[in-house]
């Protein structure tokens, strides 16, 4: 196995980089696996990686209908934070955060996790109450966080308009210093390489067309390219397409797949060092190491599998950015795109057993999946390995939508008086 390092780069440069090994194999699948992961995005690949690394289960295949990391992993705005309100969500995302903090070294692949801090702005008194509530909860859960006033916010981000001229002036923010961004593609590739290295078969350009279910138990999958492949357990991690796969297995999920759009500016010289998010004004931004302002907002109202949304959503997002950062008015928008996010009614994921025995689903991450990638894979792997849900994953059962134990992370409802 080739180890990556600066020295390795030097060595390979002497042979004109002709001798780099493949990052992963292109294997023909076996007839049977202990575990099949459907979906080769970040979460699926992380699941495979941790199955191999932490549970020594290496007879694993990841089956991906397109290319590795080609779905939402390739399309998100790369924000990583763990400042969630409710204990269940906070534990899950903080579990991920701790894994992020050593991930490049663990994978021997630089995922460029950059803890430049994240501000969640408050523009109303209710925003500030919610921020206070969330930060207090975070701190008691061992998650870093501070409540800042407008002046402190302005000191961290001088280019943010914190004046009273704004339609909704900034009143303050929550500040998570350990939050940040990561290089999204590298996350998928790093997990893929680590999984492959440990014997996991990564099967690309192969679509799982159906599950093979006998007496209510899944025993394998059907594929378009390699026919039937057997498995003891199947984990389905297909994000926006989860409902489509669930329908094949004969059940519905509490999900809707919505377009989520994002955009980038042209690359400009570094000017924004932290992540700045505003739920009230509906926009957020950070600046990548290449210089692009990476900008996003909320989902489109309708469901859609087209990887594109409606123009007014982009328009409102840009308005929000210019409202927050008036100096960006003459900066130019380069590109926009869309992903398909599977949203849950309580804005929390589903990591769960299903009505089909040995078939597990990991989905419903909505707009917040990227930041959870290592944590999601880690607890899902543990659950698949044991056949029982990991304790952090337990509250995220799909059956909470029957008994009512929802974990509402929409934030406190924004109405007042």
């Amino acid at each position: 196995m080739q180890q990556y390092s600066g020295f390795g780069l030097l060595k390979h440069s002497l042979s004109h980089h002709e001798n780099w090994q493949r990052v992963w194999r292109n294997p023909t699948p076996k007839k049977k696996y202990d575990v099949i992961i459907v979906g080769g995005g970040g979460h699926g690949l992380a699941t495979a990686y941790y199955l191999a690394k932490e549970h020594n289960i290496t007879n694993v295949a990841v089956i991906e209908k397109g290319y590795l990391g080609g779905g939402n992993t390739a399309r998100n705005t790369t924000i990583v934070r763990s400042n969630y309100l409710w204990d269940e969500a906070a534990h899950l995302y903080e579990h991920a955060m701790k894994l992020w903090e050593g991930l490049s070294q663990d994978l021997n692949y630089n995922v460029m996790f950059s803890q430049r801090g994240c501000l969640n702005l408050g523009h109303t008194l209710q925003d500030m109450r919610d921020i206070e509530r969330r930060v207090n909860a975070n701190r008691l859960n061992g998650i870093d966080g501070e409540v800042l006033d407008a002046k402190q916010v302005n000191e961290i981000v001088p280019i943010l308009d914190c004046s009273d001229n704004a339609r909704y002036p900034v009143m303050g923010a929550s500040w998570q210093p350990r939050a940040g961004v990561a290089r999204h593609d590298a996350v998928a590739w790093g997990f893929a390489r680590g999984a492959d290295m440990r014997g996991v078969d990564l099967i690309q350009q192969t679509e799982v067309t159906d599950f093979i279910i006998e007496d209510g138990t899944v025993v394998g999958v059907k594929t378009d390219r390699y026919g039937d492949i057997k498995a003891d357990r199947v984990g389905c991690v297909v994000a926006g397409h989860s409902s489509v796969m669930a329908a094949k297995a004969g059940f519905e999920l509490p999900l809707e797949s919505h377009p989520l759009q994002a955009l980038v500016s042209e690359p400009i010289k570094p000017i924004l060092d932290t992540v700045v998010m505003s739920n009230h004004v509906h926009g957020y931004a950070s600046q990548s190491d290449k210089g692009d302002l990476v900008i996003g907002a909320g989902i489109d109202s309708y469901t859609g599998y087209g990887q594109r949304g409606s123009y007014p959503t982009i328009e409102h997002t840009v308005q929000a950015i210019v409202e927050m950062f008036p100096i960006f008015s003459r900066v130019r928008m380069n590109r926009q795109w869309g992903g398909i996010v599977d949203t849950c009614p309580d804005a929390c994921p589903i990591i769960s057993k299903t009505p089909v025995k040995n078939l597990f689903f990991n989905c419903g991450w909505g707009t917040g999946g990227f930041k959870a990638t290592p944590g999601s894979g880690n607890v899902f792997a543990a659950s698949l390995a044991k056949g029982e849900m990991h304790e952090i994953a337990e509250p995220f059962s799909m059956f909470r939508f029957h008994n009512g134990a929802l974990i509402d992370e929409h934030g406190a409802a924004g109405v007042a008086h």
């Binding site: 397409h241 409902s243 489509v244 329908a247 519905e252 999920l253 509490p254 999900l255 809707e256 797949s257 109202s301 309708y302 469901t303 859609g304 599998y305 087209g306 409606s310 123009y311 007014p312 599977d342 009614p345 939508f401 029957h402 008994n403 009512g404």
Partner: protein
Amino acid sequence: MFYIYCPYCGEHREEEEFHNHGQAHIERPLDPDSCTDEEWGNYMFFRKNPKGLHHEIWVHAVGCRKFFNVTRDTVTYEIKEVYKMGEQPKVVAK
């Protein structure tokens, strides 16, 4: 941005005048009190979320405030038909 025909106003209008209200033809159980938690949860939360033909509700929010049904392809985003509340779709998935 969609261009949506409001069957009540009888005109095409920009998507900005409308709001999407999710899957159509979900009926509130007539006797909620006799529903199990599972049945009630299914009614409230579980959805078809199809890839392809989808019957959904839109409301002409800043127009006539009427709710109506739309059959739309969720991949191509083509609107195949628009029909009023209480009516059934003519374009259905095979």
